[in-house]
Symmetry: D2
Amino acid sequence: MNTADLIASCQQDWNDYTRHRFLIELGNGTLPKEVFQHYLEQDYLFLIQFSRAYALAVYKSDNFAEMRKPLEALHGLISHETRLHVEYCEQWGLTEQDMMNIPEATGTVAYTRLVLDAGQSGSLTDLYAALAPCSIGYGHIGRWLANSPNTVWEGNPYREWIETYNGEEYQAGVQASQEQLDELLAEIPDDSRSAARIKKIFRSATCMEVAFWEQGYEALAS
Amino acid sequence: MNTADLIASCQQDWNDYTRHRFLIELGNGTLPKEVFQHYLEQDYLFLIQFSRAYALAVYKSDNFAEMRKPLEALHGLISHETRLHVEYCEQWGLTEQDMMNIPEATGTVAYTRLVLDAGQSGSLTDLYAALAPCSIGYGHIGRWLANSPNTVWEGNPYREWIETYNGEEYQAGVQASQEQLDELLAEIPDDSRSAARIKKIFRSATCMEVAFWEQGYEALAS
Amino acid sequence: MNTADLIASCQQDWNDYTRHRFLIELGNGTLPKEVFQHYLEQDYLFLIQFSRAYALAVYKSDNFAEMRKPLEALHGLISHETRLHVEYCEQWGLTEQDMMNIPEATGTVAYTRLVLDAGQSGSLTDLYAALAPCSIGYGHIGRWLANSPNTVWEGNPYREWIETYNGEEYQAGVQASQEQLDELLAEIPDDSRSAARIKKIFRSATCMEVAFWEQGYEALAS
Amino acid sequence: MNTADLIASCQQDWNDYTRHRFLIELGNGTLPKEVFQHYLEQDYLFLIQFSRAYALAVYKSDNFAEMRKPLEALHGLISHETRLHVEYCEQWGLTEQDMMNIPEATGTVAYTRLVLDAGQSGSLTDLYAALAPCSIGYGHIGRWLANSPNTVWEGNPYREWIETYNGEEYQAGVQASQEQLDELLAEIPDDSRSAARIKKIFRSATCMEVAFWEQGYEALAS
């Protein structure tokens, strides 16, 4: 089994996630600012839980060599990605303290805790499969948006977002994540119960990503 | 600190949960059947995760005496409550196999995994606080509905639901859960960081219960 | 891979464990009573942690069908095996309260926490592999002692112990445990990293069982 | 409650640990080299598990500020302390690959898995209390040896060990660990069940440290 098989096993859900109207509107610059701001706020809370998930991957490692990959990701998340995120949010008028006080929305709780629970209750492979819709999906999304003829670059307030996730550094990280997951999945026999479990986790995580995109619109509507 | 303090610390969210229109409509018999059926399906998936949470409480116990309470709850959930639930669902045309194949909705994932993560990452008290909106809240709801002048008994298709949660057996379990939580909370100093953490978990869990009620309506609308 | 492969992968350690002088002396009735009493005390503390491990297996299950097996084992441990153990200990002058106050010896901590950590950090298969030296090994030991020409039956103060672990009920439980582990192991490719990890866990757990037998003699010597 | 109370609650065990003959002989240079070498090998395996414990502390944190402390410790352990350890071991003729292949001894398993299990099953405070005999104890030991009139400096093959653990950098880390633990313990009421649990964990961890010192002698004797 490999990452492509995971995606193929829930292709419709994967498309719903990676071609969501949030992304289409982000690409052509028509995404309502309130929706994006809601996303930014929740993404900060998301990053806290994602960092915890990478810490869990370190905990679930057997030796120093295995620990280094998730530790690097964790270090990147806490020192680098979060700092960038906080700076970026400041441009949108959000301070870190503001974001810490915002309650987590349902979709944020759903995706992050699903990942953490899959990781605690299963193997390291289960954990990485649950992380994959984010750790790999954002790379697919960034590349797709960057190459889409519908993407508007001039005057698009979300241009920086697209450039970040299509950027070389981010894409290299995605590549590394995918190789690591493929290496772990290569050990899982195709028709095993482990394979079925991993597919179920991956699909459920993908659906929770859809809920994550939706929640900004719901907040706007209510 | 005690359970009443937890409720008071997020009274508005608690009211949103325990006085939700799902319950008002259930009480007067006007709840759309599709909404109720969606709830029943998700509640089955919920009970699986809830059983896992009680197993986690057994794991987090220090001796046999401590284990007995959550083990009894676990046993009740698996042997008794689930069987009742399955029988009840059959009246609504849902078989157990059907329910096992339904994907978990976002609100179901959000509440259940929040509980499991609070339990894994925190103390036994954190775990019971996360369970409380369900383990204690359903008792409050059952009693409130049973005593409400707006509740319709004659011809109400949801009468059995109200009677179950207002029933002596269920109320005795709620009483026991609340006493146990109160005993654990009595040790937590009011202004401590532990108290703040527990309140945050309880509030977040309460909000996820609201999302759980909502999701039947959302499914109906979509 | 199957259970026999696990044993073969650390045959020397397995022999050290299942043919330990503690067992030989128990079989011919020459085991010093102080050593046996120390074992009984530690075995009580061991059963607490073992119950926690089965609770962890319930937590790590995906549905009710999967939960039932470890839940049954847990129920048996808490309601039945522990009660028998407590009654048996009383014959040796040890009350349950006495045993609860005895500190856990190093070998007890080592084996039990290794199991719990293997279970938390790995898959359900890892957990069952860590439990196997006990859950399956005691069956092998009981049968071996019962069939050994060196076993003394007449006047052997440890006869009941041998009869328990060679008894039909216990052997049926062992059989069920082994079938379940074999089913899980059948999915693990022979030369995979998962296989290597599982073998390492199984071997380490087997070595900790040796330490568990040793500790009564060490306590006697000190 | 504070760290001093924890130590006072098991003063005899604490003395057995911090004044162990391993340390007295290390201080006066008479410790058999084989015993020290065994200790070095096991200490490498110990550091792997200790790193996992700090990763667990990151996982159990609620926000980025809380994560930074254990993440720094984890980073220090993996990048710095382990490198030093590996270099130091090379002076004693041990390569990293050698050490990775050595089985964990019982005392190593016992202490490390006790810490990990206390951390998984309890609160962050429980985890730090389980780590304290090491994270704080080694500082006490380094300082005591450095100030002891019995310590031999000239020609002592273990001088570097003493200097490391009495060194400013190490002592600053110990100071920070103790302050953090004191801050967490300050919230725990003296006569609470949480206090009793934490004392039990601390005492048990201290006893496992004694077993850790012992095991080099046992290996020498066998």
